[in-house]
């Protein structure tokens, strides 16, 4: 809402400088977006009151030496006349007419005035300096709107209305400040100059002056000429109509055009401008019909019949149904109620008589229709927030007065006024106890009344600490005691209320174990050298299909009804596709990526309207394991075992027992370098994720370079459920002994099988098993592999004897061979 202060001052004295007023409004809930200053002293381009003046152009003559220039004789005060050289095309028509019978008003700038350069793009300030132009001295000018910073217009000089006072500083005539306020949905009352004036009056201790238009009606009462019937009583609480005859359609007066422009509306003609002017002044949108196009002068407010059509002012034809509300005559629909007029009864050049509608509508029907028809307007914005029904009388008086004064019309006596609902009377009982309970500060009953009264609330003492507060008709937003508490706080000043530490009972404190472990997981993975990414939950099936082509046709996705773009149309079922897209950028930019993400994925359920949102963890690793440095210029690249290392680290630190790994066949992993992660959950062995190297085909679909890309995606929710608290293991004081065993077995025998077997036969003395070498090649023969284990043995209560150790060693060798067929390498 744009508020020109010059307009606002009609209704309230503005006692604060503009910037202070803006701050006061912001602190009172009317957030000021901008304070725009035009021509005034602290604006971007102040119009010097001694140098930029309103002037008369007395005569226009041809420049002696230039075809495209004229000389204008200008009067800028009693006896002050000056000749100005100008190329303004809008003066050509006055050339050679001699002394003008009807002098033109314009803006005169003297030497020394600072203005914007009209000939260059943007706003470049220049100081006016005298110089000869084609042999004629030019030391002053007539200004275009662009040169004054009023608009971008530079086609000709600015022409002012005839009543502009010659010699007056332009800043006094047109200088202004516009306060632009971001009006919140509950502040409908401030969507007008009068509404804003009420608020400012309450905040600054001033009184409001409502306009008091005087009209001189004539002829028979409108109630005997025309009729209004409200059929849709629930949707139209009040409808009023007046009539103005013999209007002349022409431009509206300059001052009105100026005010509308400053408030952000485009002037059209006097009828439209008057309608908009009253909407902005009083907050009551209204509509003018060509009265001669209203059949039988009978207005009917009703819902549409299915199949009915209406062509609106913008030329569009709408198909209607019984969810739409219309203003009709007895023959046809005339307008979409409160939203837009119809073509058939539009006021045009031929219009002579005008029927003026001022009504209020049920807000939700207006919003439904303006949304459905995509017709958001200044009118619908006000109606859907709520218009004061008691403002209609004054609005009609104002409308008819302006139509009489500026459209030369004759106002018909009287007003049709149909109320389908009684006047809204809201009285709220408010106790000082309630104010204290909500705000935390004790006010007396009379203090509360004093704070509320300036806002128009009528407070009547009911008992010693209770008021009966009558809500004014323009405060449709107030219906609870809580609303009144807000008004008390607002008037008292939020910043003046105390700040306290909650004294209320502290609720039972419970640890959110899952969240703690989720954070712990992030710490583990960053500790393992991975960066945390957060990628979009929204993706496309095409992106998911890069991982697995089967996803392209899949219907197990949550799909948006209104996606912003096809790339973000589906809720992800897996983190990897979006994480791989990020990894691609990193690999291309830096040749390396080490990312993880912890987040939800979304799995629709057939038996419920809301999906499951399981928590996942995903990892992508590619590129050198450590950064290249002067010590190692070609570090090794990461692969399968780097991803596995990260997973083992996670499993170990979360203390998840019984995790096993097995070859995987998931389609997006390279066969042979792919693993399933399994864990014992109750009695079942469940797969909690997969990892490995990205399949070359998938890699190609993502457009990734041909390097090994280690990936993993794990069901973190289950992992966190299985996480446990570490149990302390006692540390032996006796020395350990190590035994190295190289076992040869077919490649098909897994390292894990052999290790399991070693553990089985080592007994209590086993402290650790690690693999220190893996060999395949000529020395062990085709299809065979040697794995060297270092076994650490240690007893908790004694030093193991050589004899004991060699017995254990022999037992392990026999046992492993029995279990797996692996033989000791000699």
């Amino acid at each position: 809402m744009r508020i020109p202060l010059s307009w606002l001052r009609d209704y309230v004295d503005v006692t604060l400088p503009a910037d202070e007023l803006a701050e006061r409004l912001t602190r009172s809930g009317l957030e000021v977006d901008a304070v725009e200053k035009l021509g005034v002293a602290d604006s971007e381009l102040p119009w010097d009151p001694t140098l930029v003046l309103v002037c008369n152009i007395l005569e226009v003559t041809q420049h002696p030496n230039a075809d495209r220039l004229v000389l204008a004789e200008v009067e800028y005060g009693p006896g002050l006349v000056h000749t100005v050289v100008t190329g303004a095309p809008n003066l050509y028509q006055y050339k050679g007419l001699g002394r003008l019978n009807h002098p033109l008003k314009s803006v005169f700038a003297k030497e020394g005035a600072v203005l914007y350069d009209g000939h260059v793009e943007g706003k470049v300030k220049v100081k006016l300096k005298g110089k000869p132009v084609r042999g004629v001295m030019s030391d002053a000018m007539l200004c275009s709107e662009k040169e004054l910073g009023i608009s971008e217009e530079h086609e000709g000089i600015m022409i002012l209305p005839d009543d502009a006072p010659t010699g007056t500083p332009l800043v006094d005539y047109l200088g202004d400040v516009v306060i632009d306020i971001d009006v919140l949905p509950n502040m409908a009352r401030t969507l007008s100059m009068v509404g804003m004036a009420r608020e400012i009056a309450a905040l600054t201790g001033q009184t409001v002056r409502l306009p008091d238009p005087q009209v001189t009606p004539s002829g028979a009462d409108i109630n005997s000429i025309a009729k209004v019937t409200i059929e849709a009583t629930a949707l139209c609480p009040r409808f009023t109509a007046t009539m103005v005859k013999n209007v002349t359609i022409k431009p509206s007066p300059f001052w009105m055009q100026r005010r509308l422009t400053m408030a952000g509306m485009r002037p059209i003609n006097n009828i439209v401008d008057i309608s908009n002017y009253v909407m902005l002044e009083l907050g009551t949108p209204n509509h003018t019909f060509d009265a001669d196009c209203v059949a039988n002068n009978h207005i009917v407010v009703r819902t549409a019949k299915t199949g009915e059509q209406l062509t609106t002012l913008d030329g569009r034809t709408h198909q209607l149904n019984d969810g739409h509300l219309l203003v009709c005559d007895t023959a046809q629909a005339l307008s979409v109620a409160g939203v837009m007029g119809g073509e058939s009864s539009e006021v045009s050049e031929r219009t002579r008589n005008v029927l003026v509608e001022a009504a209020v509508w049920e807000p939700t029907i207006i919003r439904r229709m303006s949304t459905a028809f995509k017709l958001r307007s200044e009118a619908s914005k006000r109606f859907e927030r709520g218009v004061d029904p008691e403002m209609l009388d004054l609005s009609q008086r104002r409308l008819t007065q302006l139509l009489s004064d500026y459209a030369d019309g004759h106002v018909v006596t009287g007003m049709i006024d149909v109320r389908s609902q009684p006047k809204r009377e809201v009285v709220i009982a408010l106790s000082t106890h309630e104010v204290k309970r909500i705000l935390g500060l004790t006010f007396t009953r009379d203090q509360v009344a004093e704070l509320l009264a300036p806002l128009g609330f009528v407070c009547t003492p009911h008992d010693v600490d209770t008021l009966h507060v009558a809500v004014p008709s323009y405060r449709g937003d107030v219906s609870h005691t809580a609303d009144l508490c807000e008004e008390v706080a607002r008037m008292y000043g939020y910043d003046n209320l105390p700040s306290t530490i909650m004294a209320d009972e502290l609720p039972v404190q419970r640890t959110n174990l899952t969240r703690e472990r989720e954070h712990f997981t992030r710490d583990i993975l960053t500790g393992a050298g991975l960066n945390e990414a957060i990628t979009y939950s929204l993706t496309s099936r095409e992106a998911a299909a890069k991982l697995d082509p089967a996803e392209l046709e899949a219907d197990h996705y949550l799909r948006l009804a209104n996606p912003l773009s096809p790339e973000r149309e589906f809720m992800r079922r897996s983190i990897l596709p979006t994480l791989l897209e990020s990894a691609n950028v990193n690999i291309r930019e830096r040749g390396v990526t080490r990312l993880f993400e912890i987040g939800r994925v979304y799995h629709p359920r057939p038996d419920a309207i809301l999906p499951n949102e399981p928590l996942r963890a995903a990892v992508v690793l590619a590129g050198p394991r450590v950064p290249a440095s002067w010590q190692s210029s070609t570090p090794e690249s990461m692969d399968f075992f780097d991803v596995k290392g990260a997973i083992e680290c996670l499993v170990e630190r979360l203390r998840i027992a019984d995790v096993t790994y097995a070859p995987s066949t998931v389609p997006y992993l390279q066969p042979g370098r792919a693993a399933d992660v399994m864990v014992r959950h109750g009695k079942e062995l469940v797969t909690i994720g997969h990892f490995g190297e990205l399949h070359p085909d998938a890699r190609e679909r993502f457009g990734l370079p041909a390097v090994r890309i280690g990936v993993a995606e794990l069901d973190l929710h289950t992992m966190l459920e299985l996480a446990s608290v570490p149990r302390y293991q006692s540390i032996s004081r006796y020395p350990a002994t190590t035994q190295d065993l190289a076992m040869i077995a077919p490649v098909s025998v897994s390292a894990e099988q052999i290790e399991k077997s070693i553990r089985k036969y080592s007994g209590n003395a086993l402290s650790n098993v690690e693999i220190f070498d893996v060999y395949t090649g000529a020395q062990v023969g085709e299809g065979m592999r040697s794995i060297a284990y270092r076994i650490t043995l240690r007893a908790s209560d004694r030093t193991l004897s050589d004899d004991e150790v060699s017995k254990i060693r022999a037992k392990i060798i026999r046992g492993v061979e029995f279990d797996t067929g692996a033989k000791i390498r000699s």
Partner: protein, 348 residues
């Protein structure tokens, strides 16, 4: 030449050659040639028996004295030589300390995670626990129960992604704020007091620009009990602002509007970049908006299972990305969800 004279000659000879010795090996040779079992002194001492018996004790003492002198001279020389050898080694092993160290590989948390943890921590101290709720919600939970009925102009405050559901089914959407969690948390606690914060991802149907994302995090908090006032809301938020931006941070409470709170408030803190003078970041107001809040609306309390005549409470919300952007001077929100490590590695 007498034995004693010979001994004096050996001593002089030994002491004069010692300073010329500079290696450990030559020193060992010197030691064996004078002090060894086959050394000059040992050889000469074998001739002690040829001396008259009365001269032997004095000569013996003289031998011991010379041995002592040479041994202590040896140990002095040894120290000098060792320390020179060590110095040589130091010189050989010296490095250019300006060469870069061996790279360590450390990962970083996402900056939003960092800030979320800070927020969690500050509110945990005030007794707020973390409560999580779904990101995909019903229209009822996201709007209706929060006092935002269909066809209400306040709906314009939240541009919403809807899930494609069959006609006639309940509307499902991506939550536009973490506020539906308020209802979940209240219903789980009512009529007992509740004090929780609700962090999580939210979504808005909004063109992505440098300042607006379609996905973002929000942390919402709610406290409901039988004795909670607007002044408590102020105290809680001031406490938070001072913990986040330093004690003594100036705050400003402005009336605002949210359908689910009444009275509603917007909390501003003094712009810490320009100290209130006005700059580009604070849009020349000197203030930064950090939280929307208010007293829980009576209708919302009722929807959460409380009696608004007995219970009261407050709620507040804030955006970790915005706090992060201000904290680190990030001018483009689109980096947050890019997964670009050039961005991620700029934070701790």
């Amino acid at each position: 030449m007498s034995i004693i004279d010979q001994l004096a000659h050996i001593e002089q000879d030994a002491l004069s050659t010692l300073p010329t010795i500079s290696s450990v090996e030559a020193l060992a040779e010197w030691k064996s040639s004078y002090l060894g079992k086959q050394g000059a002194i040992a050889k000469l001492s074998r001739e002690l028996g040829t001396l008259p018996a009365d001269q032997r004790p004095a000569a013996g003492q003289r031998f011991n004295a010379v041995r002592g002198t040479l041994e202590s001279a040896l140990s002095e020389r040894e120290t000098v030589i060792n320390s020179a050898a060590q110095n040589d080694a130091f010189t050989r092993e010296a490095v250019d300390v300006t060469l870069p160290g061996r790279p360590t590989v450390v990962g970083r948390l996402h900056p939003s995670t960092r800030v979320l943890r800070m927020i969690d921590g500050i509110f945990a101290e005030m007794g707020f626990q973390v409560w999580e709720s779904p990101e995909v919600e019903t229209d009822t939970l996201n709007f209706e129960l929060l006092n935002i009925p269909a066809d209400h102009p306040a709906r314009d405050m939240w541009d919403t992604f809807y899930i494609d559901t069959p006609a006639g089914a309940e509307k499902v959407l991506l939550r536009t704020h973490t506020s539906p969690g308020q209802i979940h948390a209240m219903r789980a606690h009512a009529p007992n007091p509740v004090r929780v914060i609700l962090p999580g991802k939210c979504y808005r149907y909004e063109q992505v620009t440098t300042r607006h994302e379609m996905m973002f995090h929000q942390v919402e908090g709610i406290a409901v009990g039988q004795n909670i006032t607007f002044s408590d809301l102020k105290g809680t938020l001031i406490g938070f602002a001072e913990r986040l931006y330093g004690s003594g941070t100036k705050t400003r409470f402005r009336p605002s509007y949210f359908p689910f709170t009444e009275p509603s408030v917007e909390l501003d803190v003094e712009c810490f970049l320009c100290k209130g003078d006005g700059c580009r970041v604070c849009k020349h107001t000197g203030w930064l908006e950090i939280s929307g809040a208010g007293m829980v609306h009576p209708d919302v309390l009722r929807n959460g299972g409380y009696d608004p005549a007995i219970h009261s409470g407050f709620a507040f919300g804030m955006g970790p990305e915005r706090i992060t952007m201000l904290r680190h001077g990030i001018d483009d929100i689109r980096w947050f969800f890019s997964g670009d490590e050039r961005f991620l590695e700029q934070f701790v």
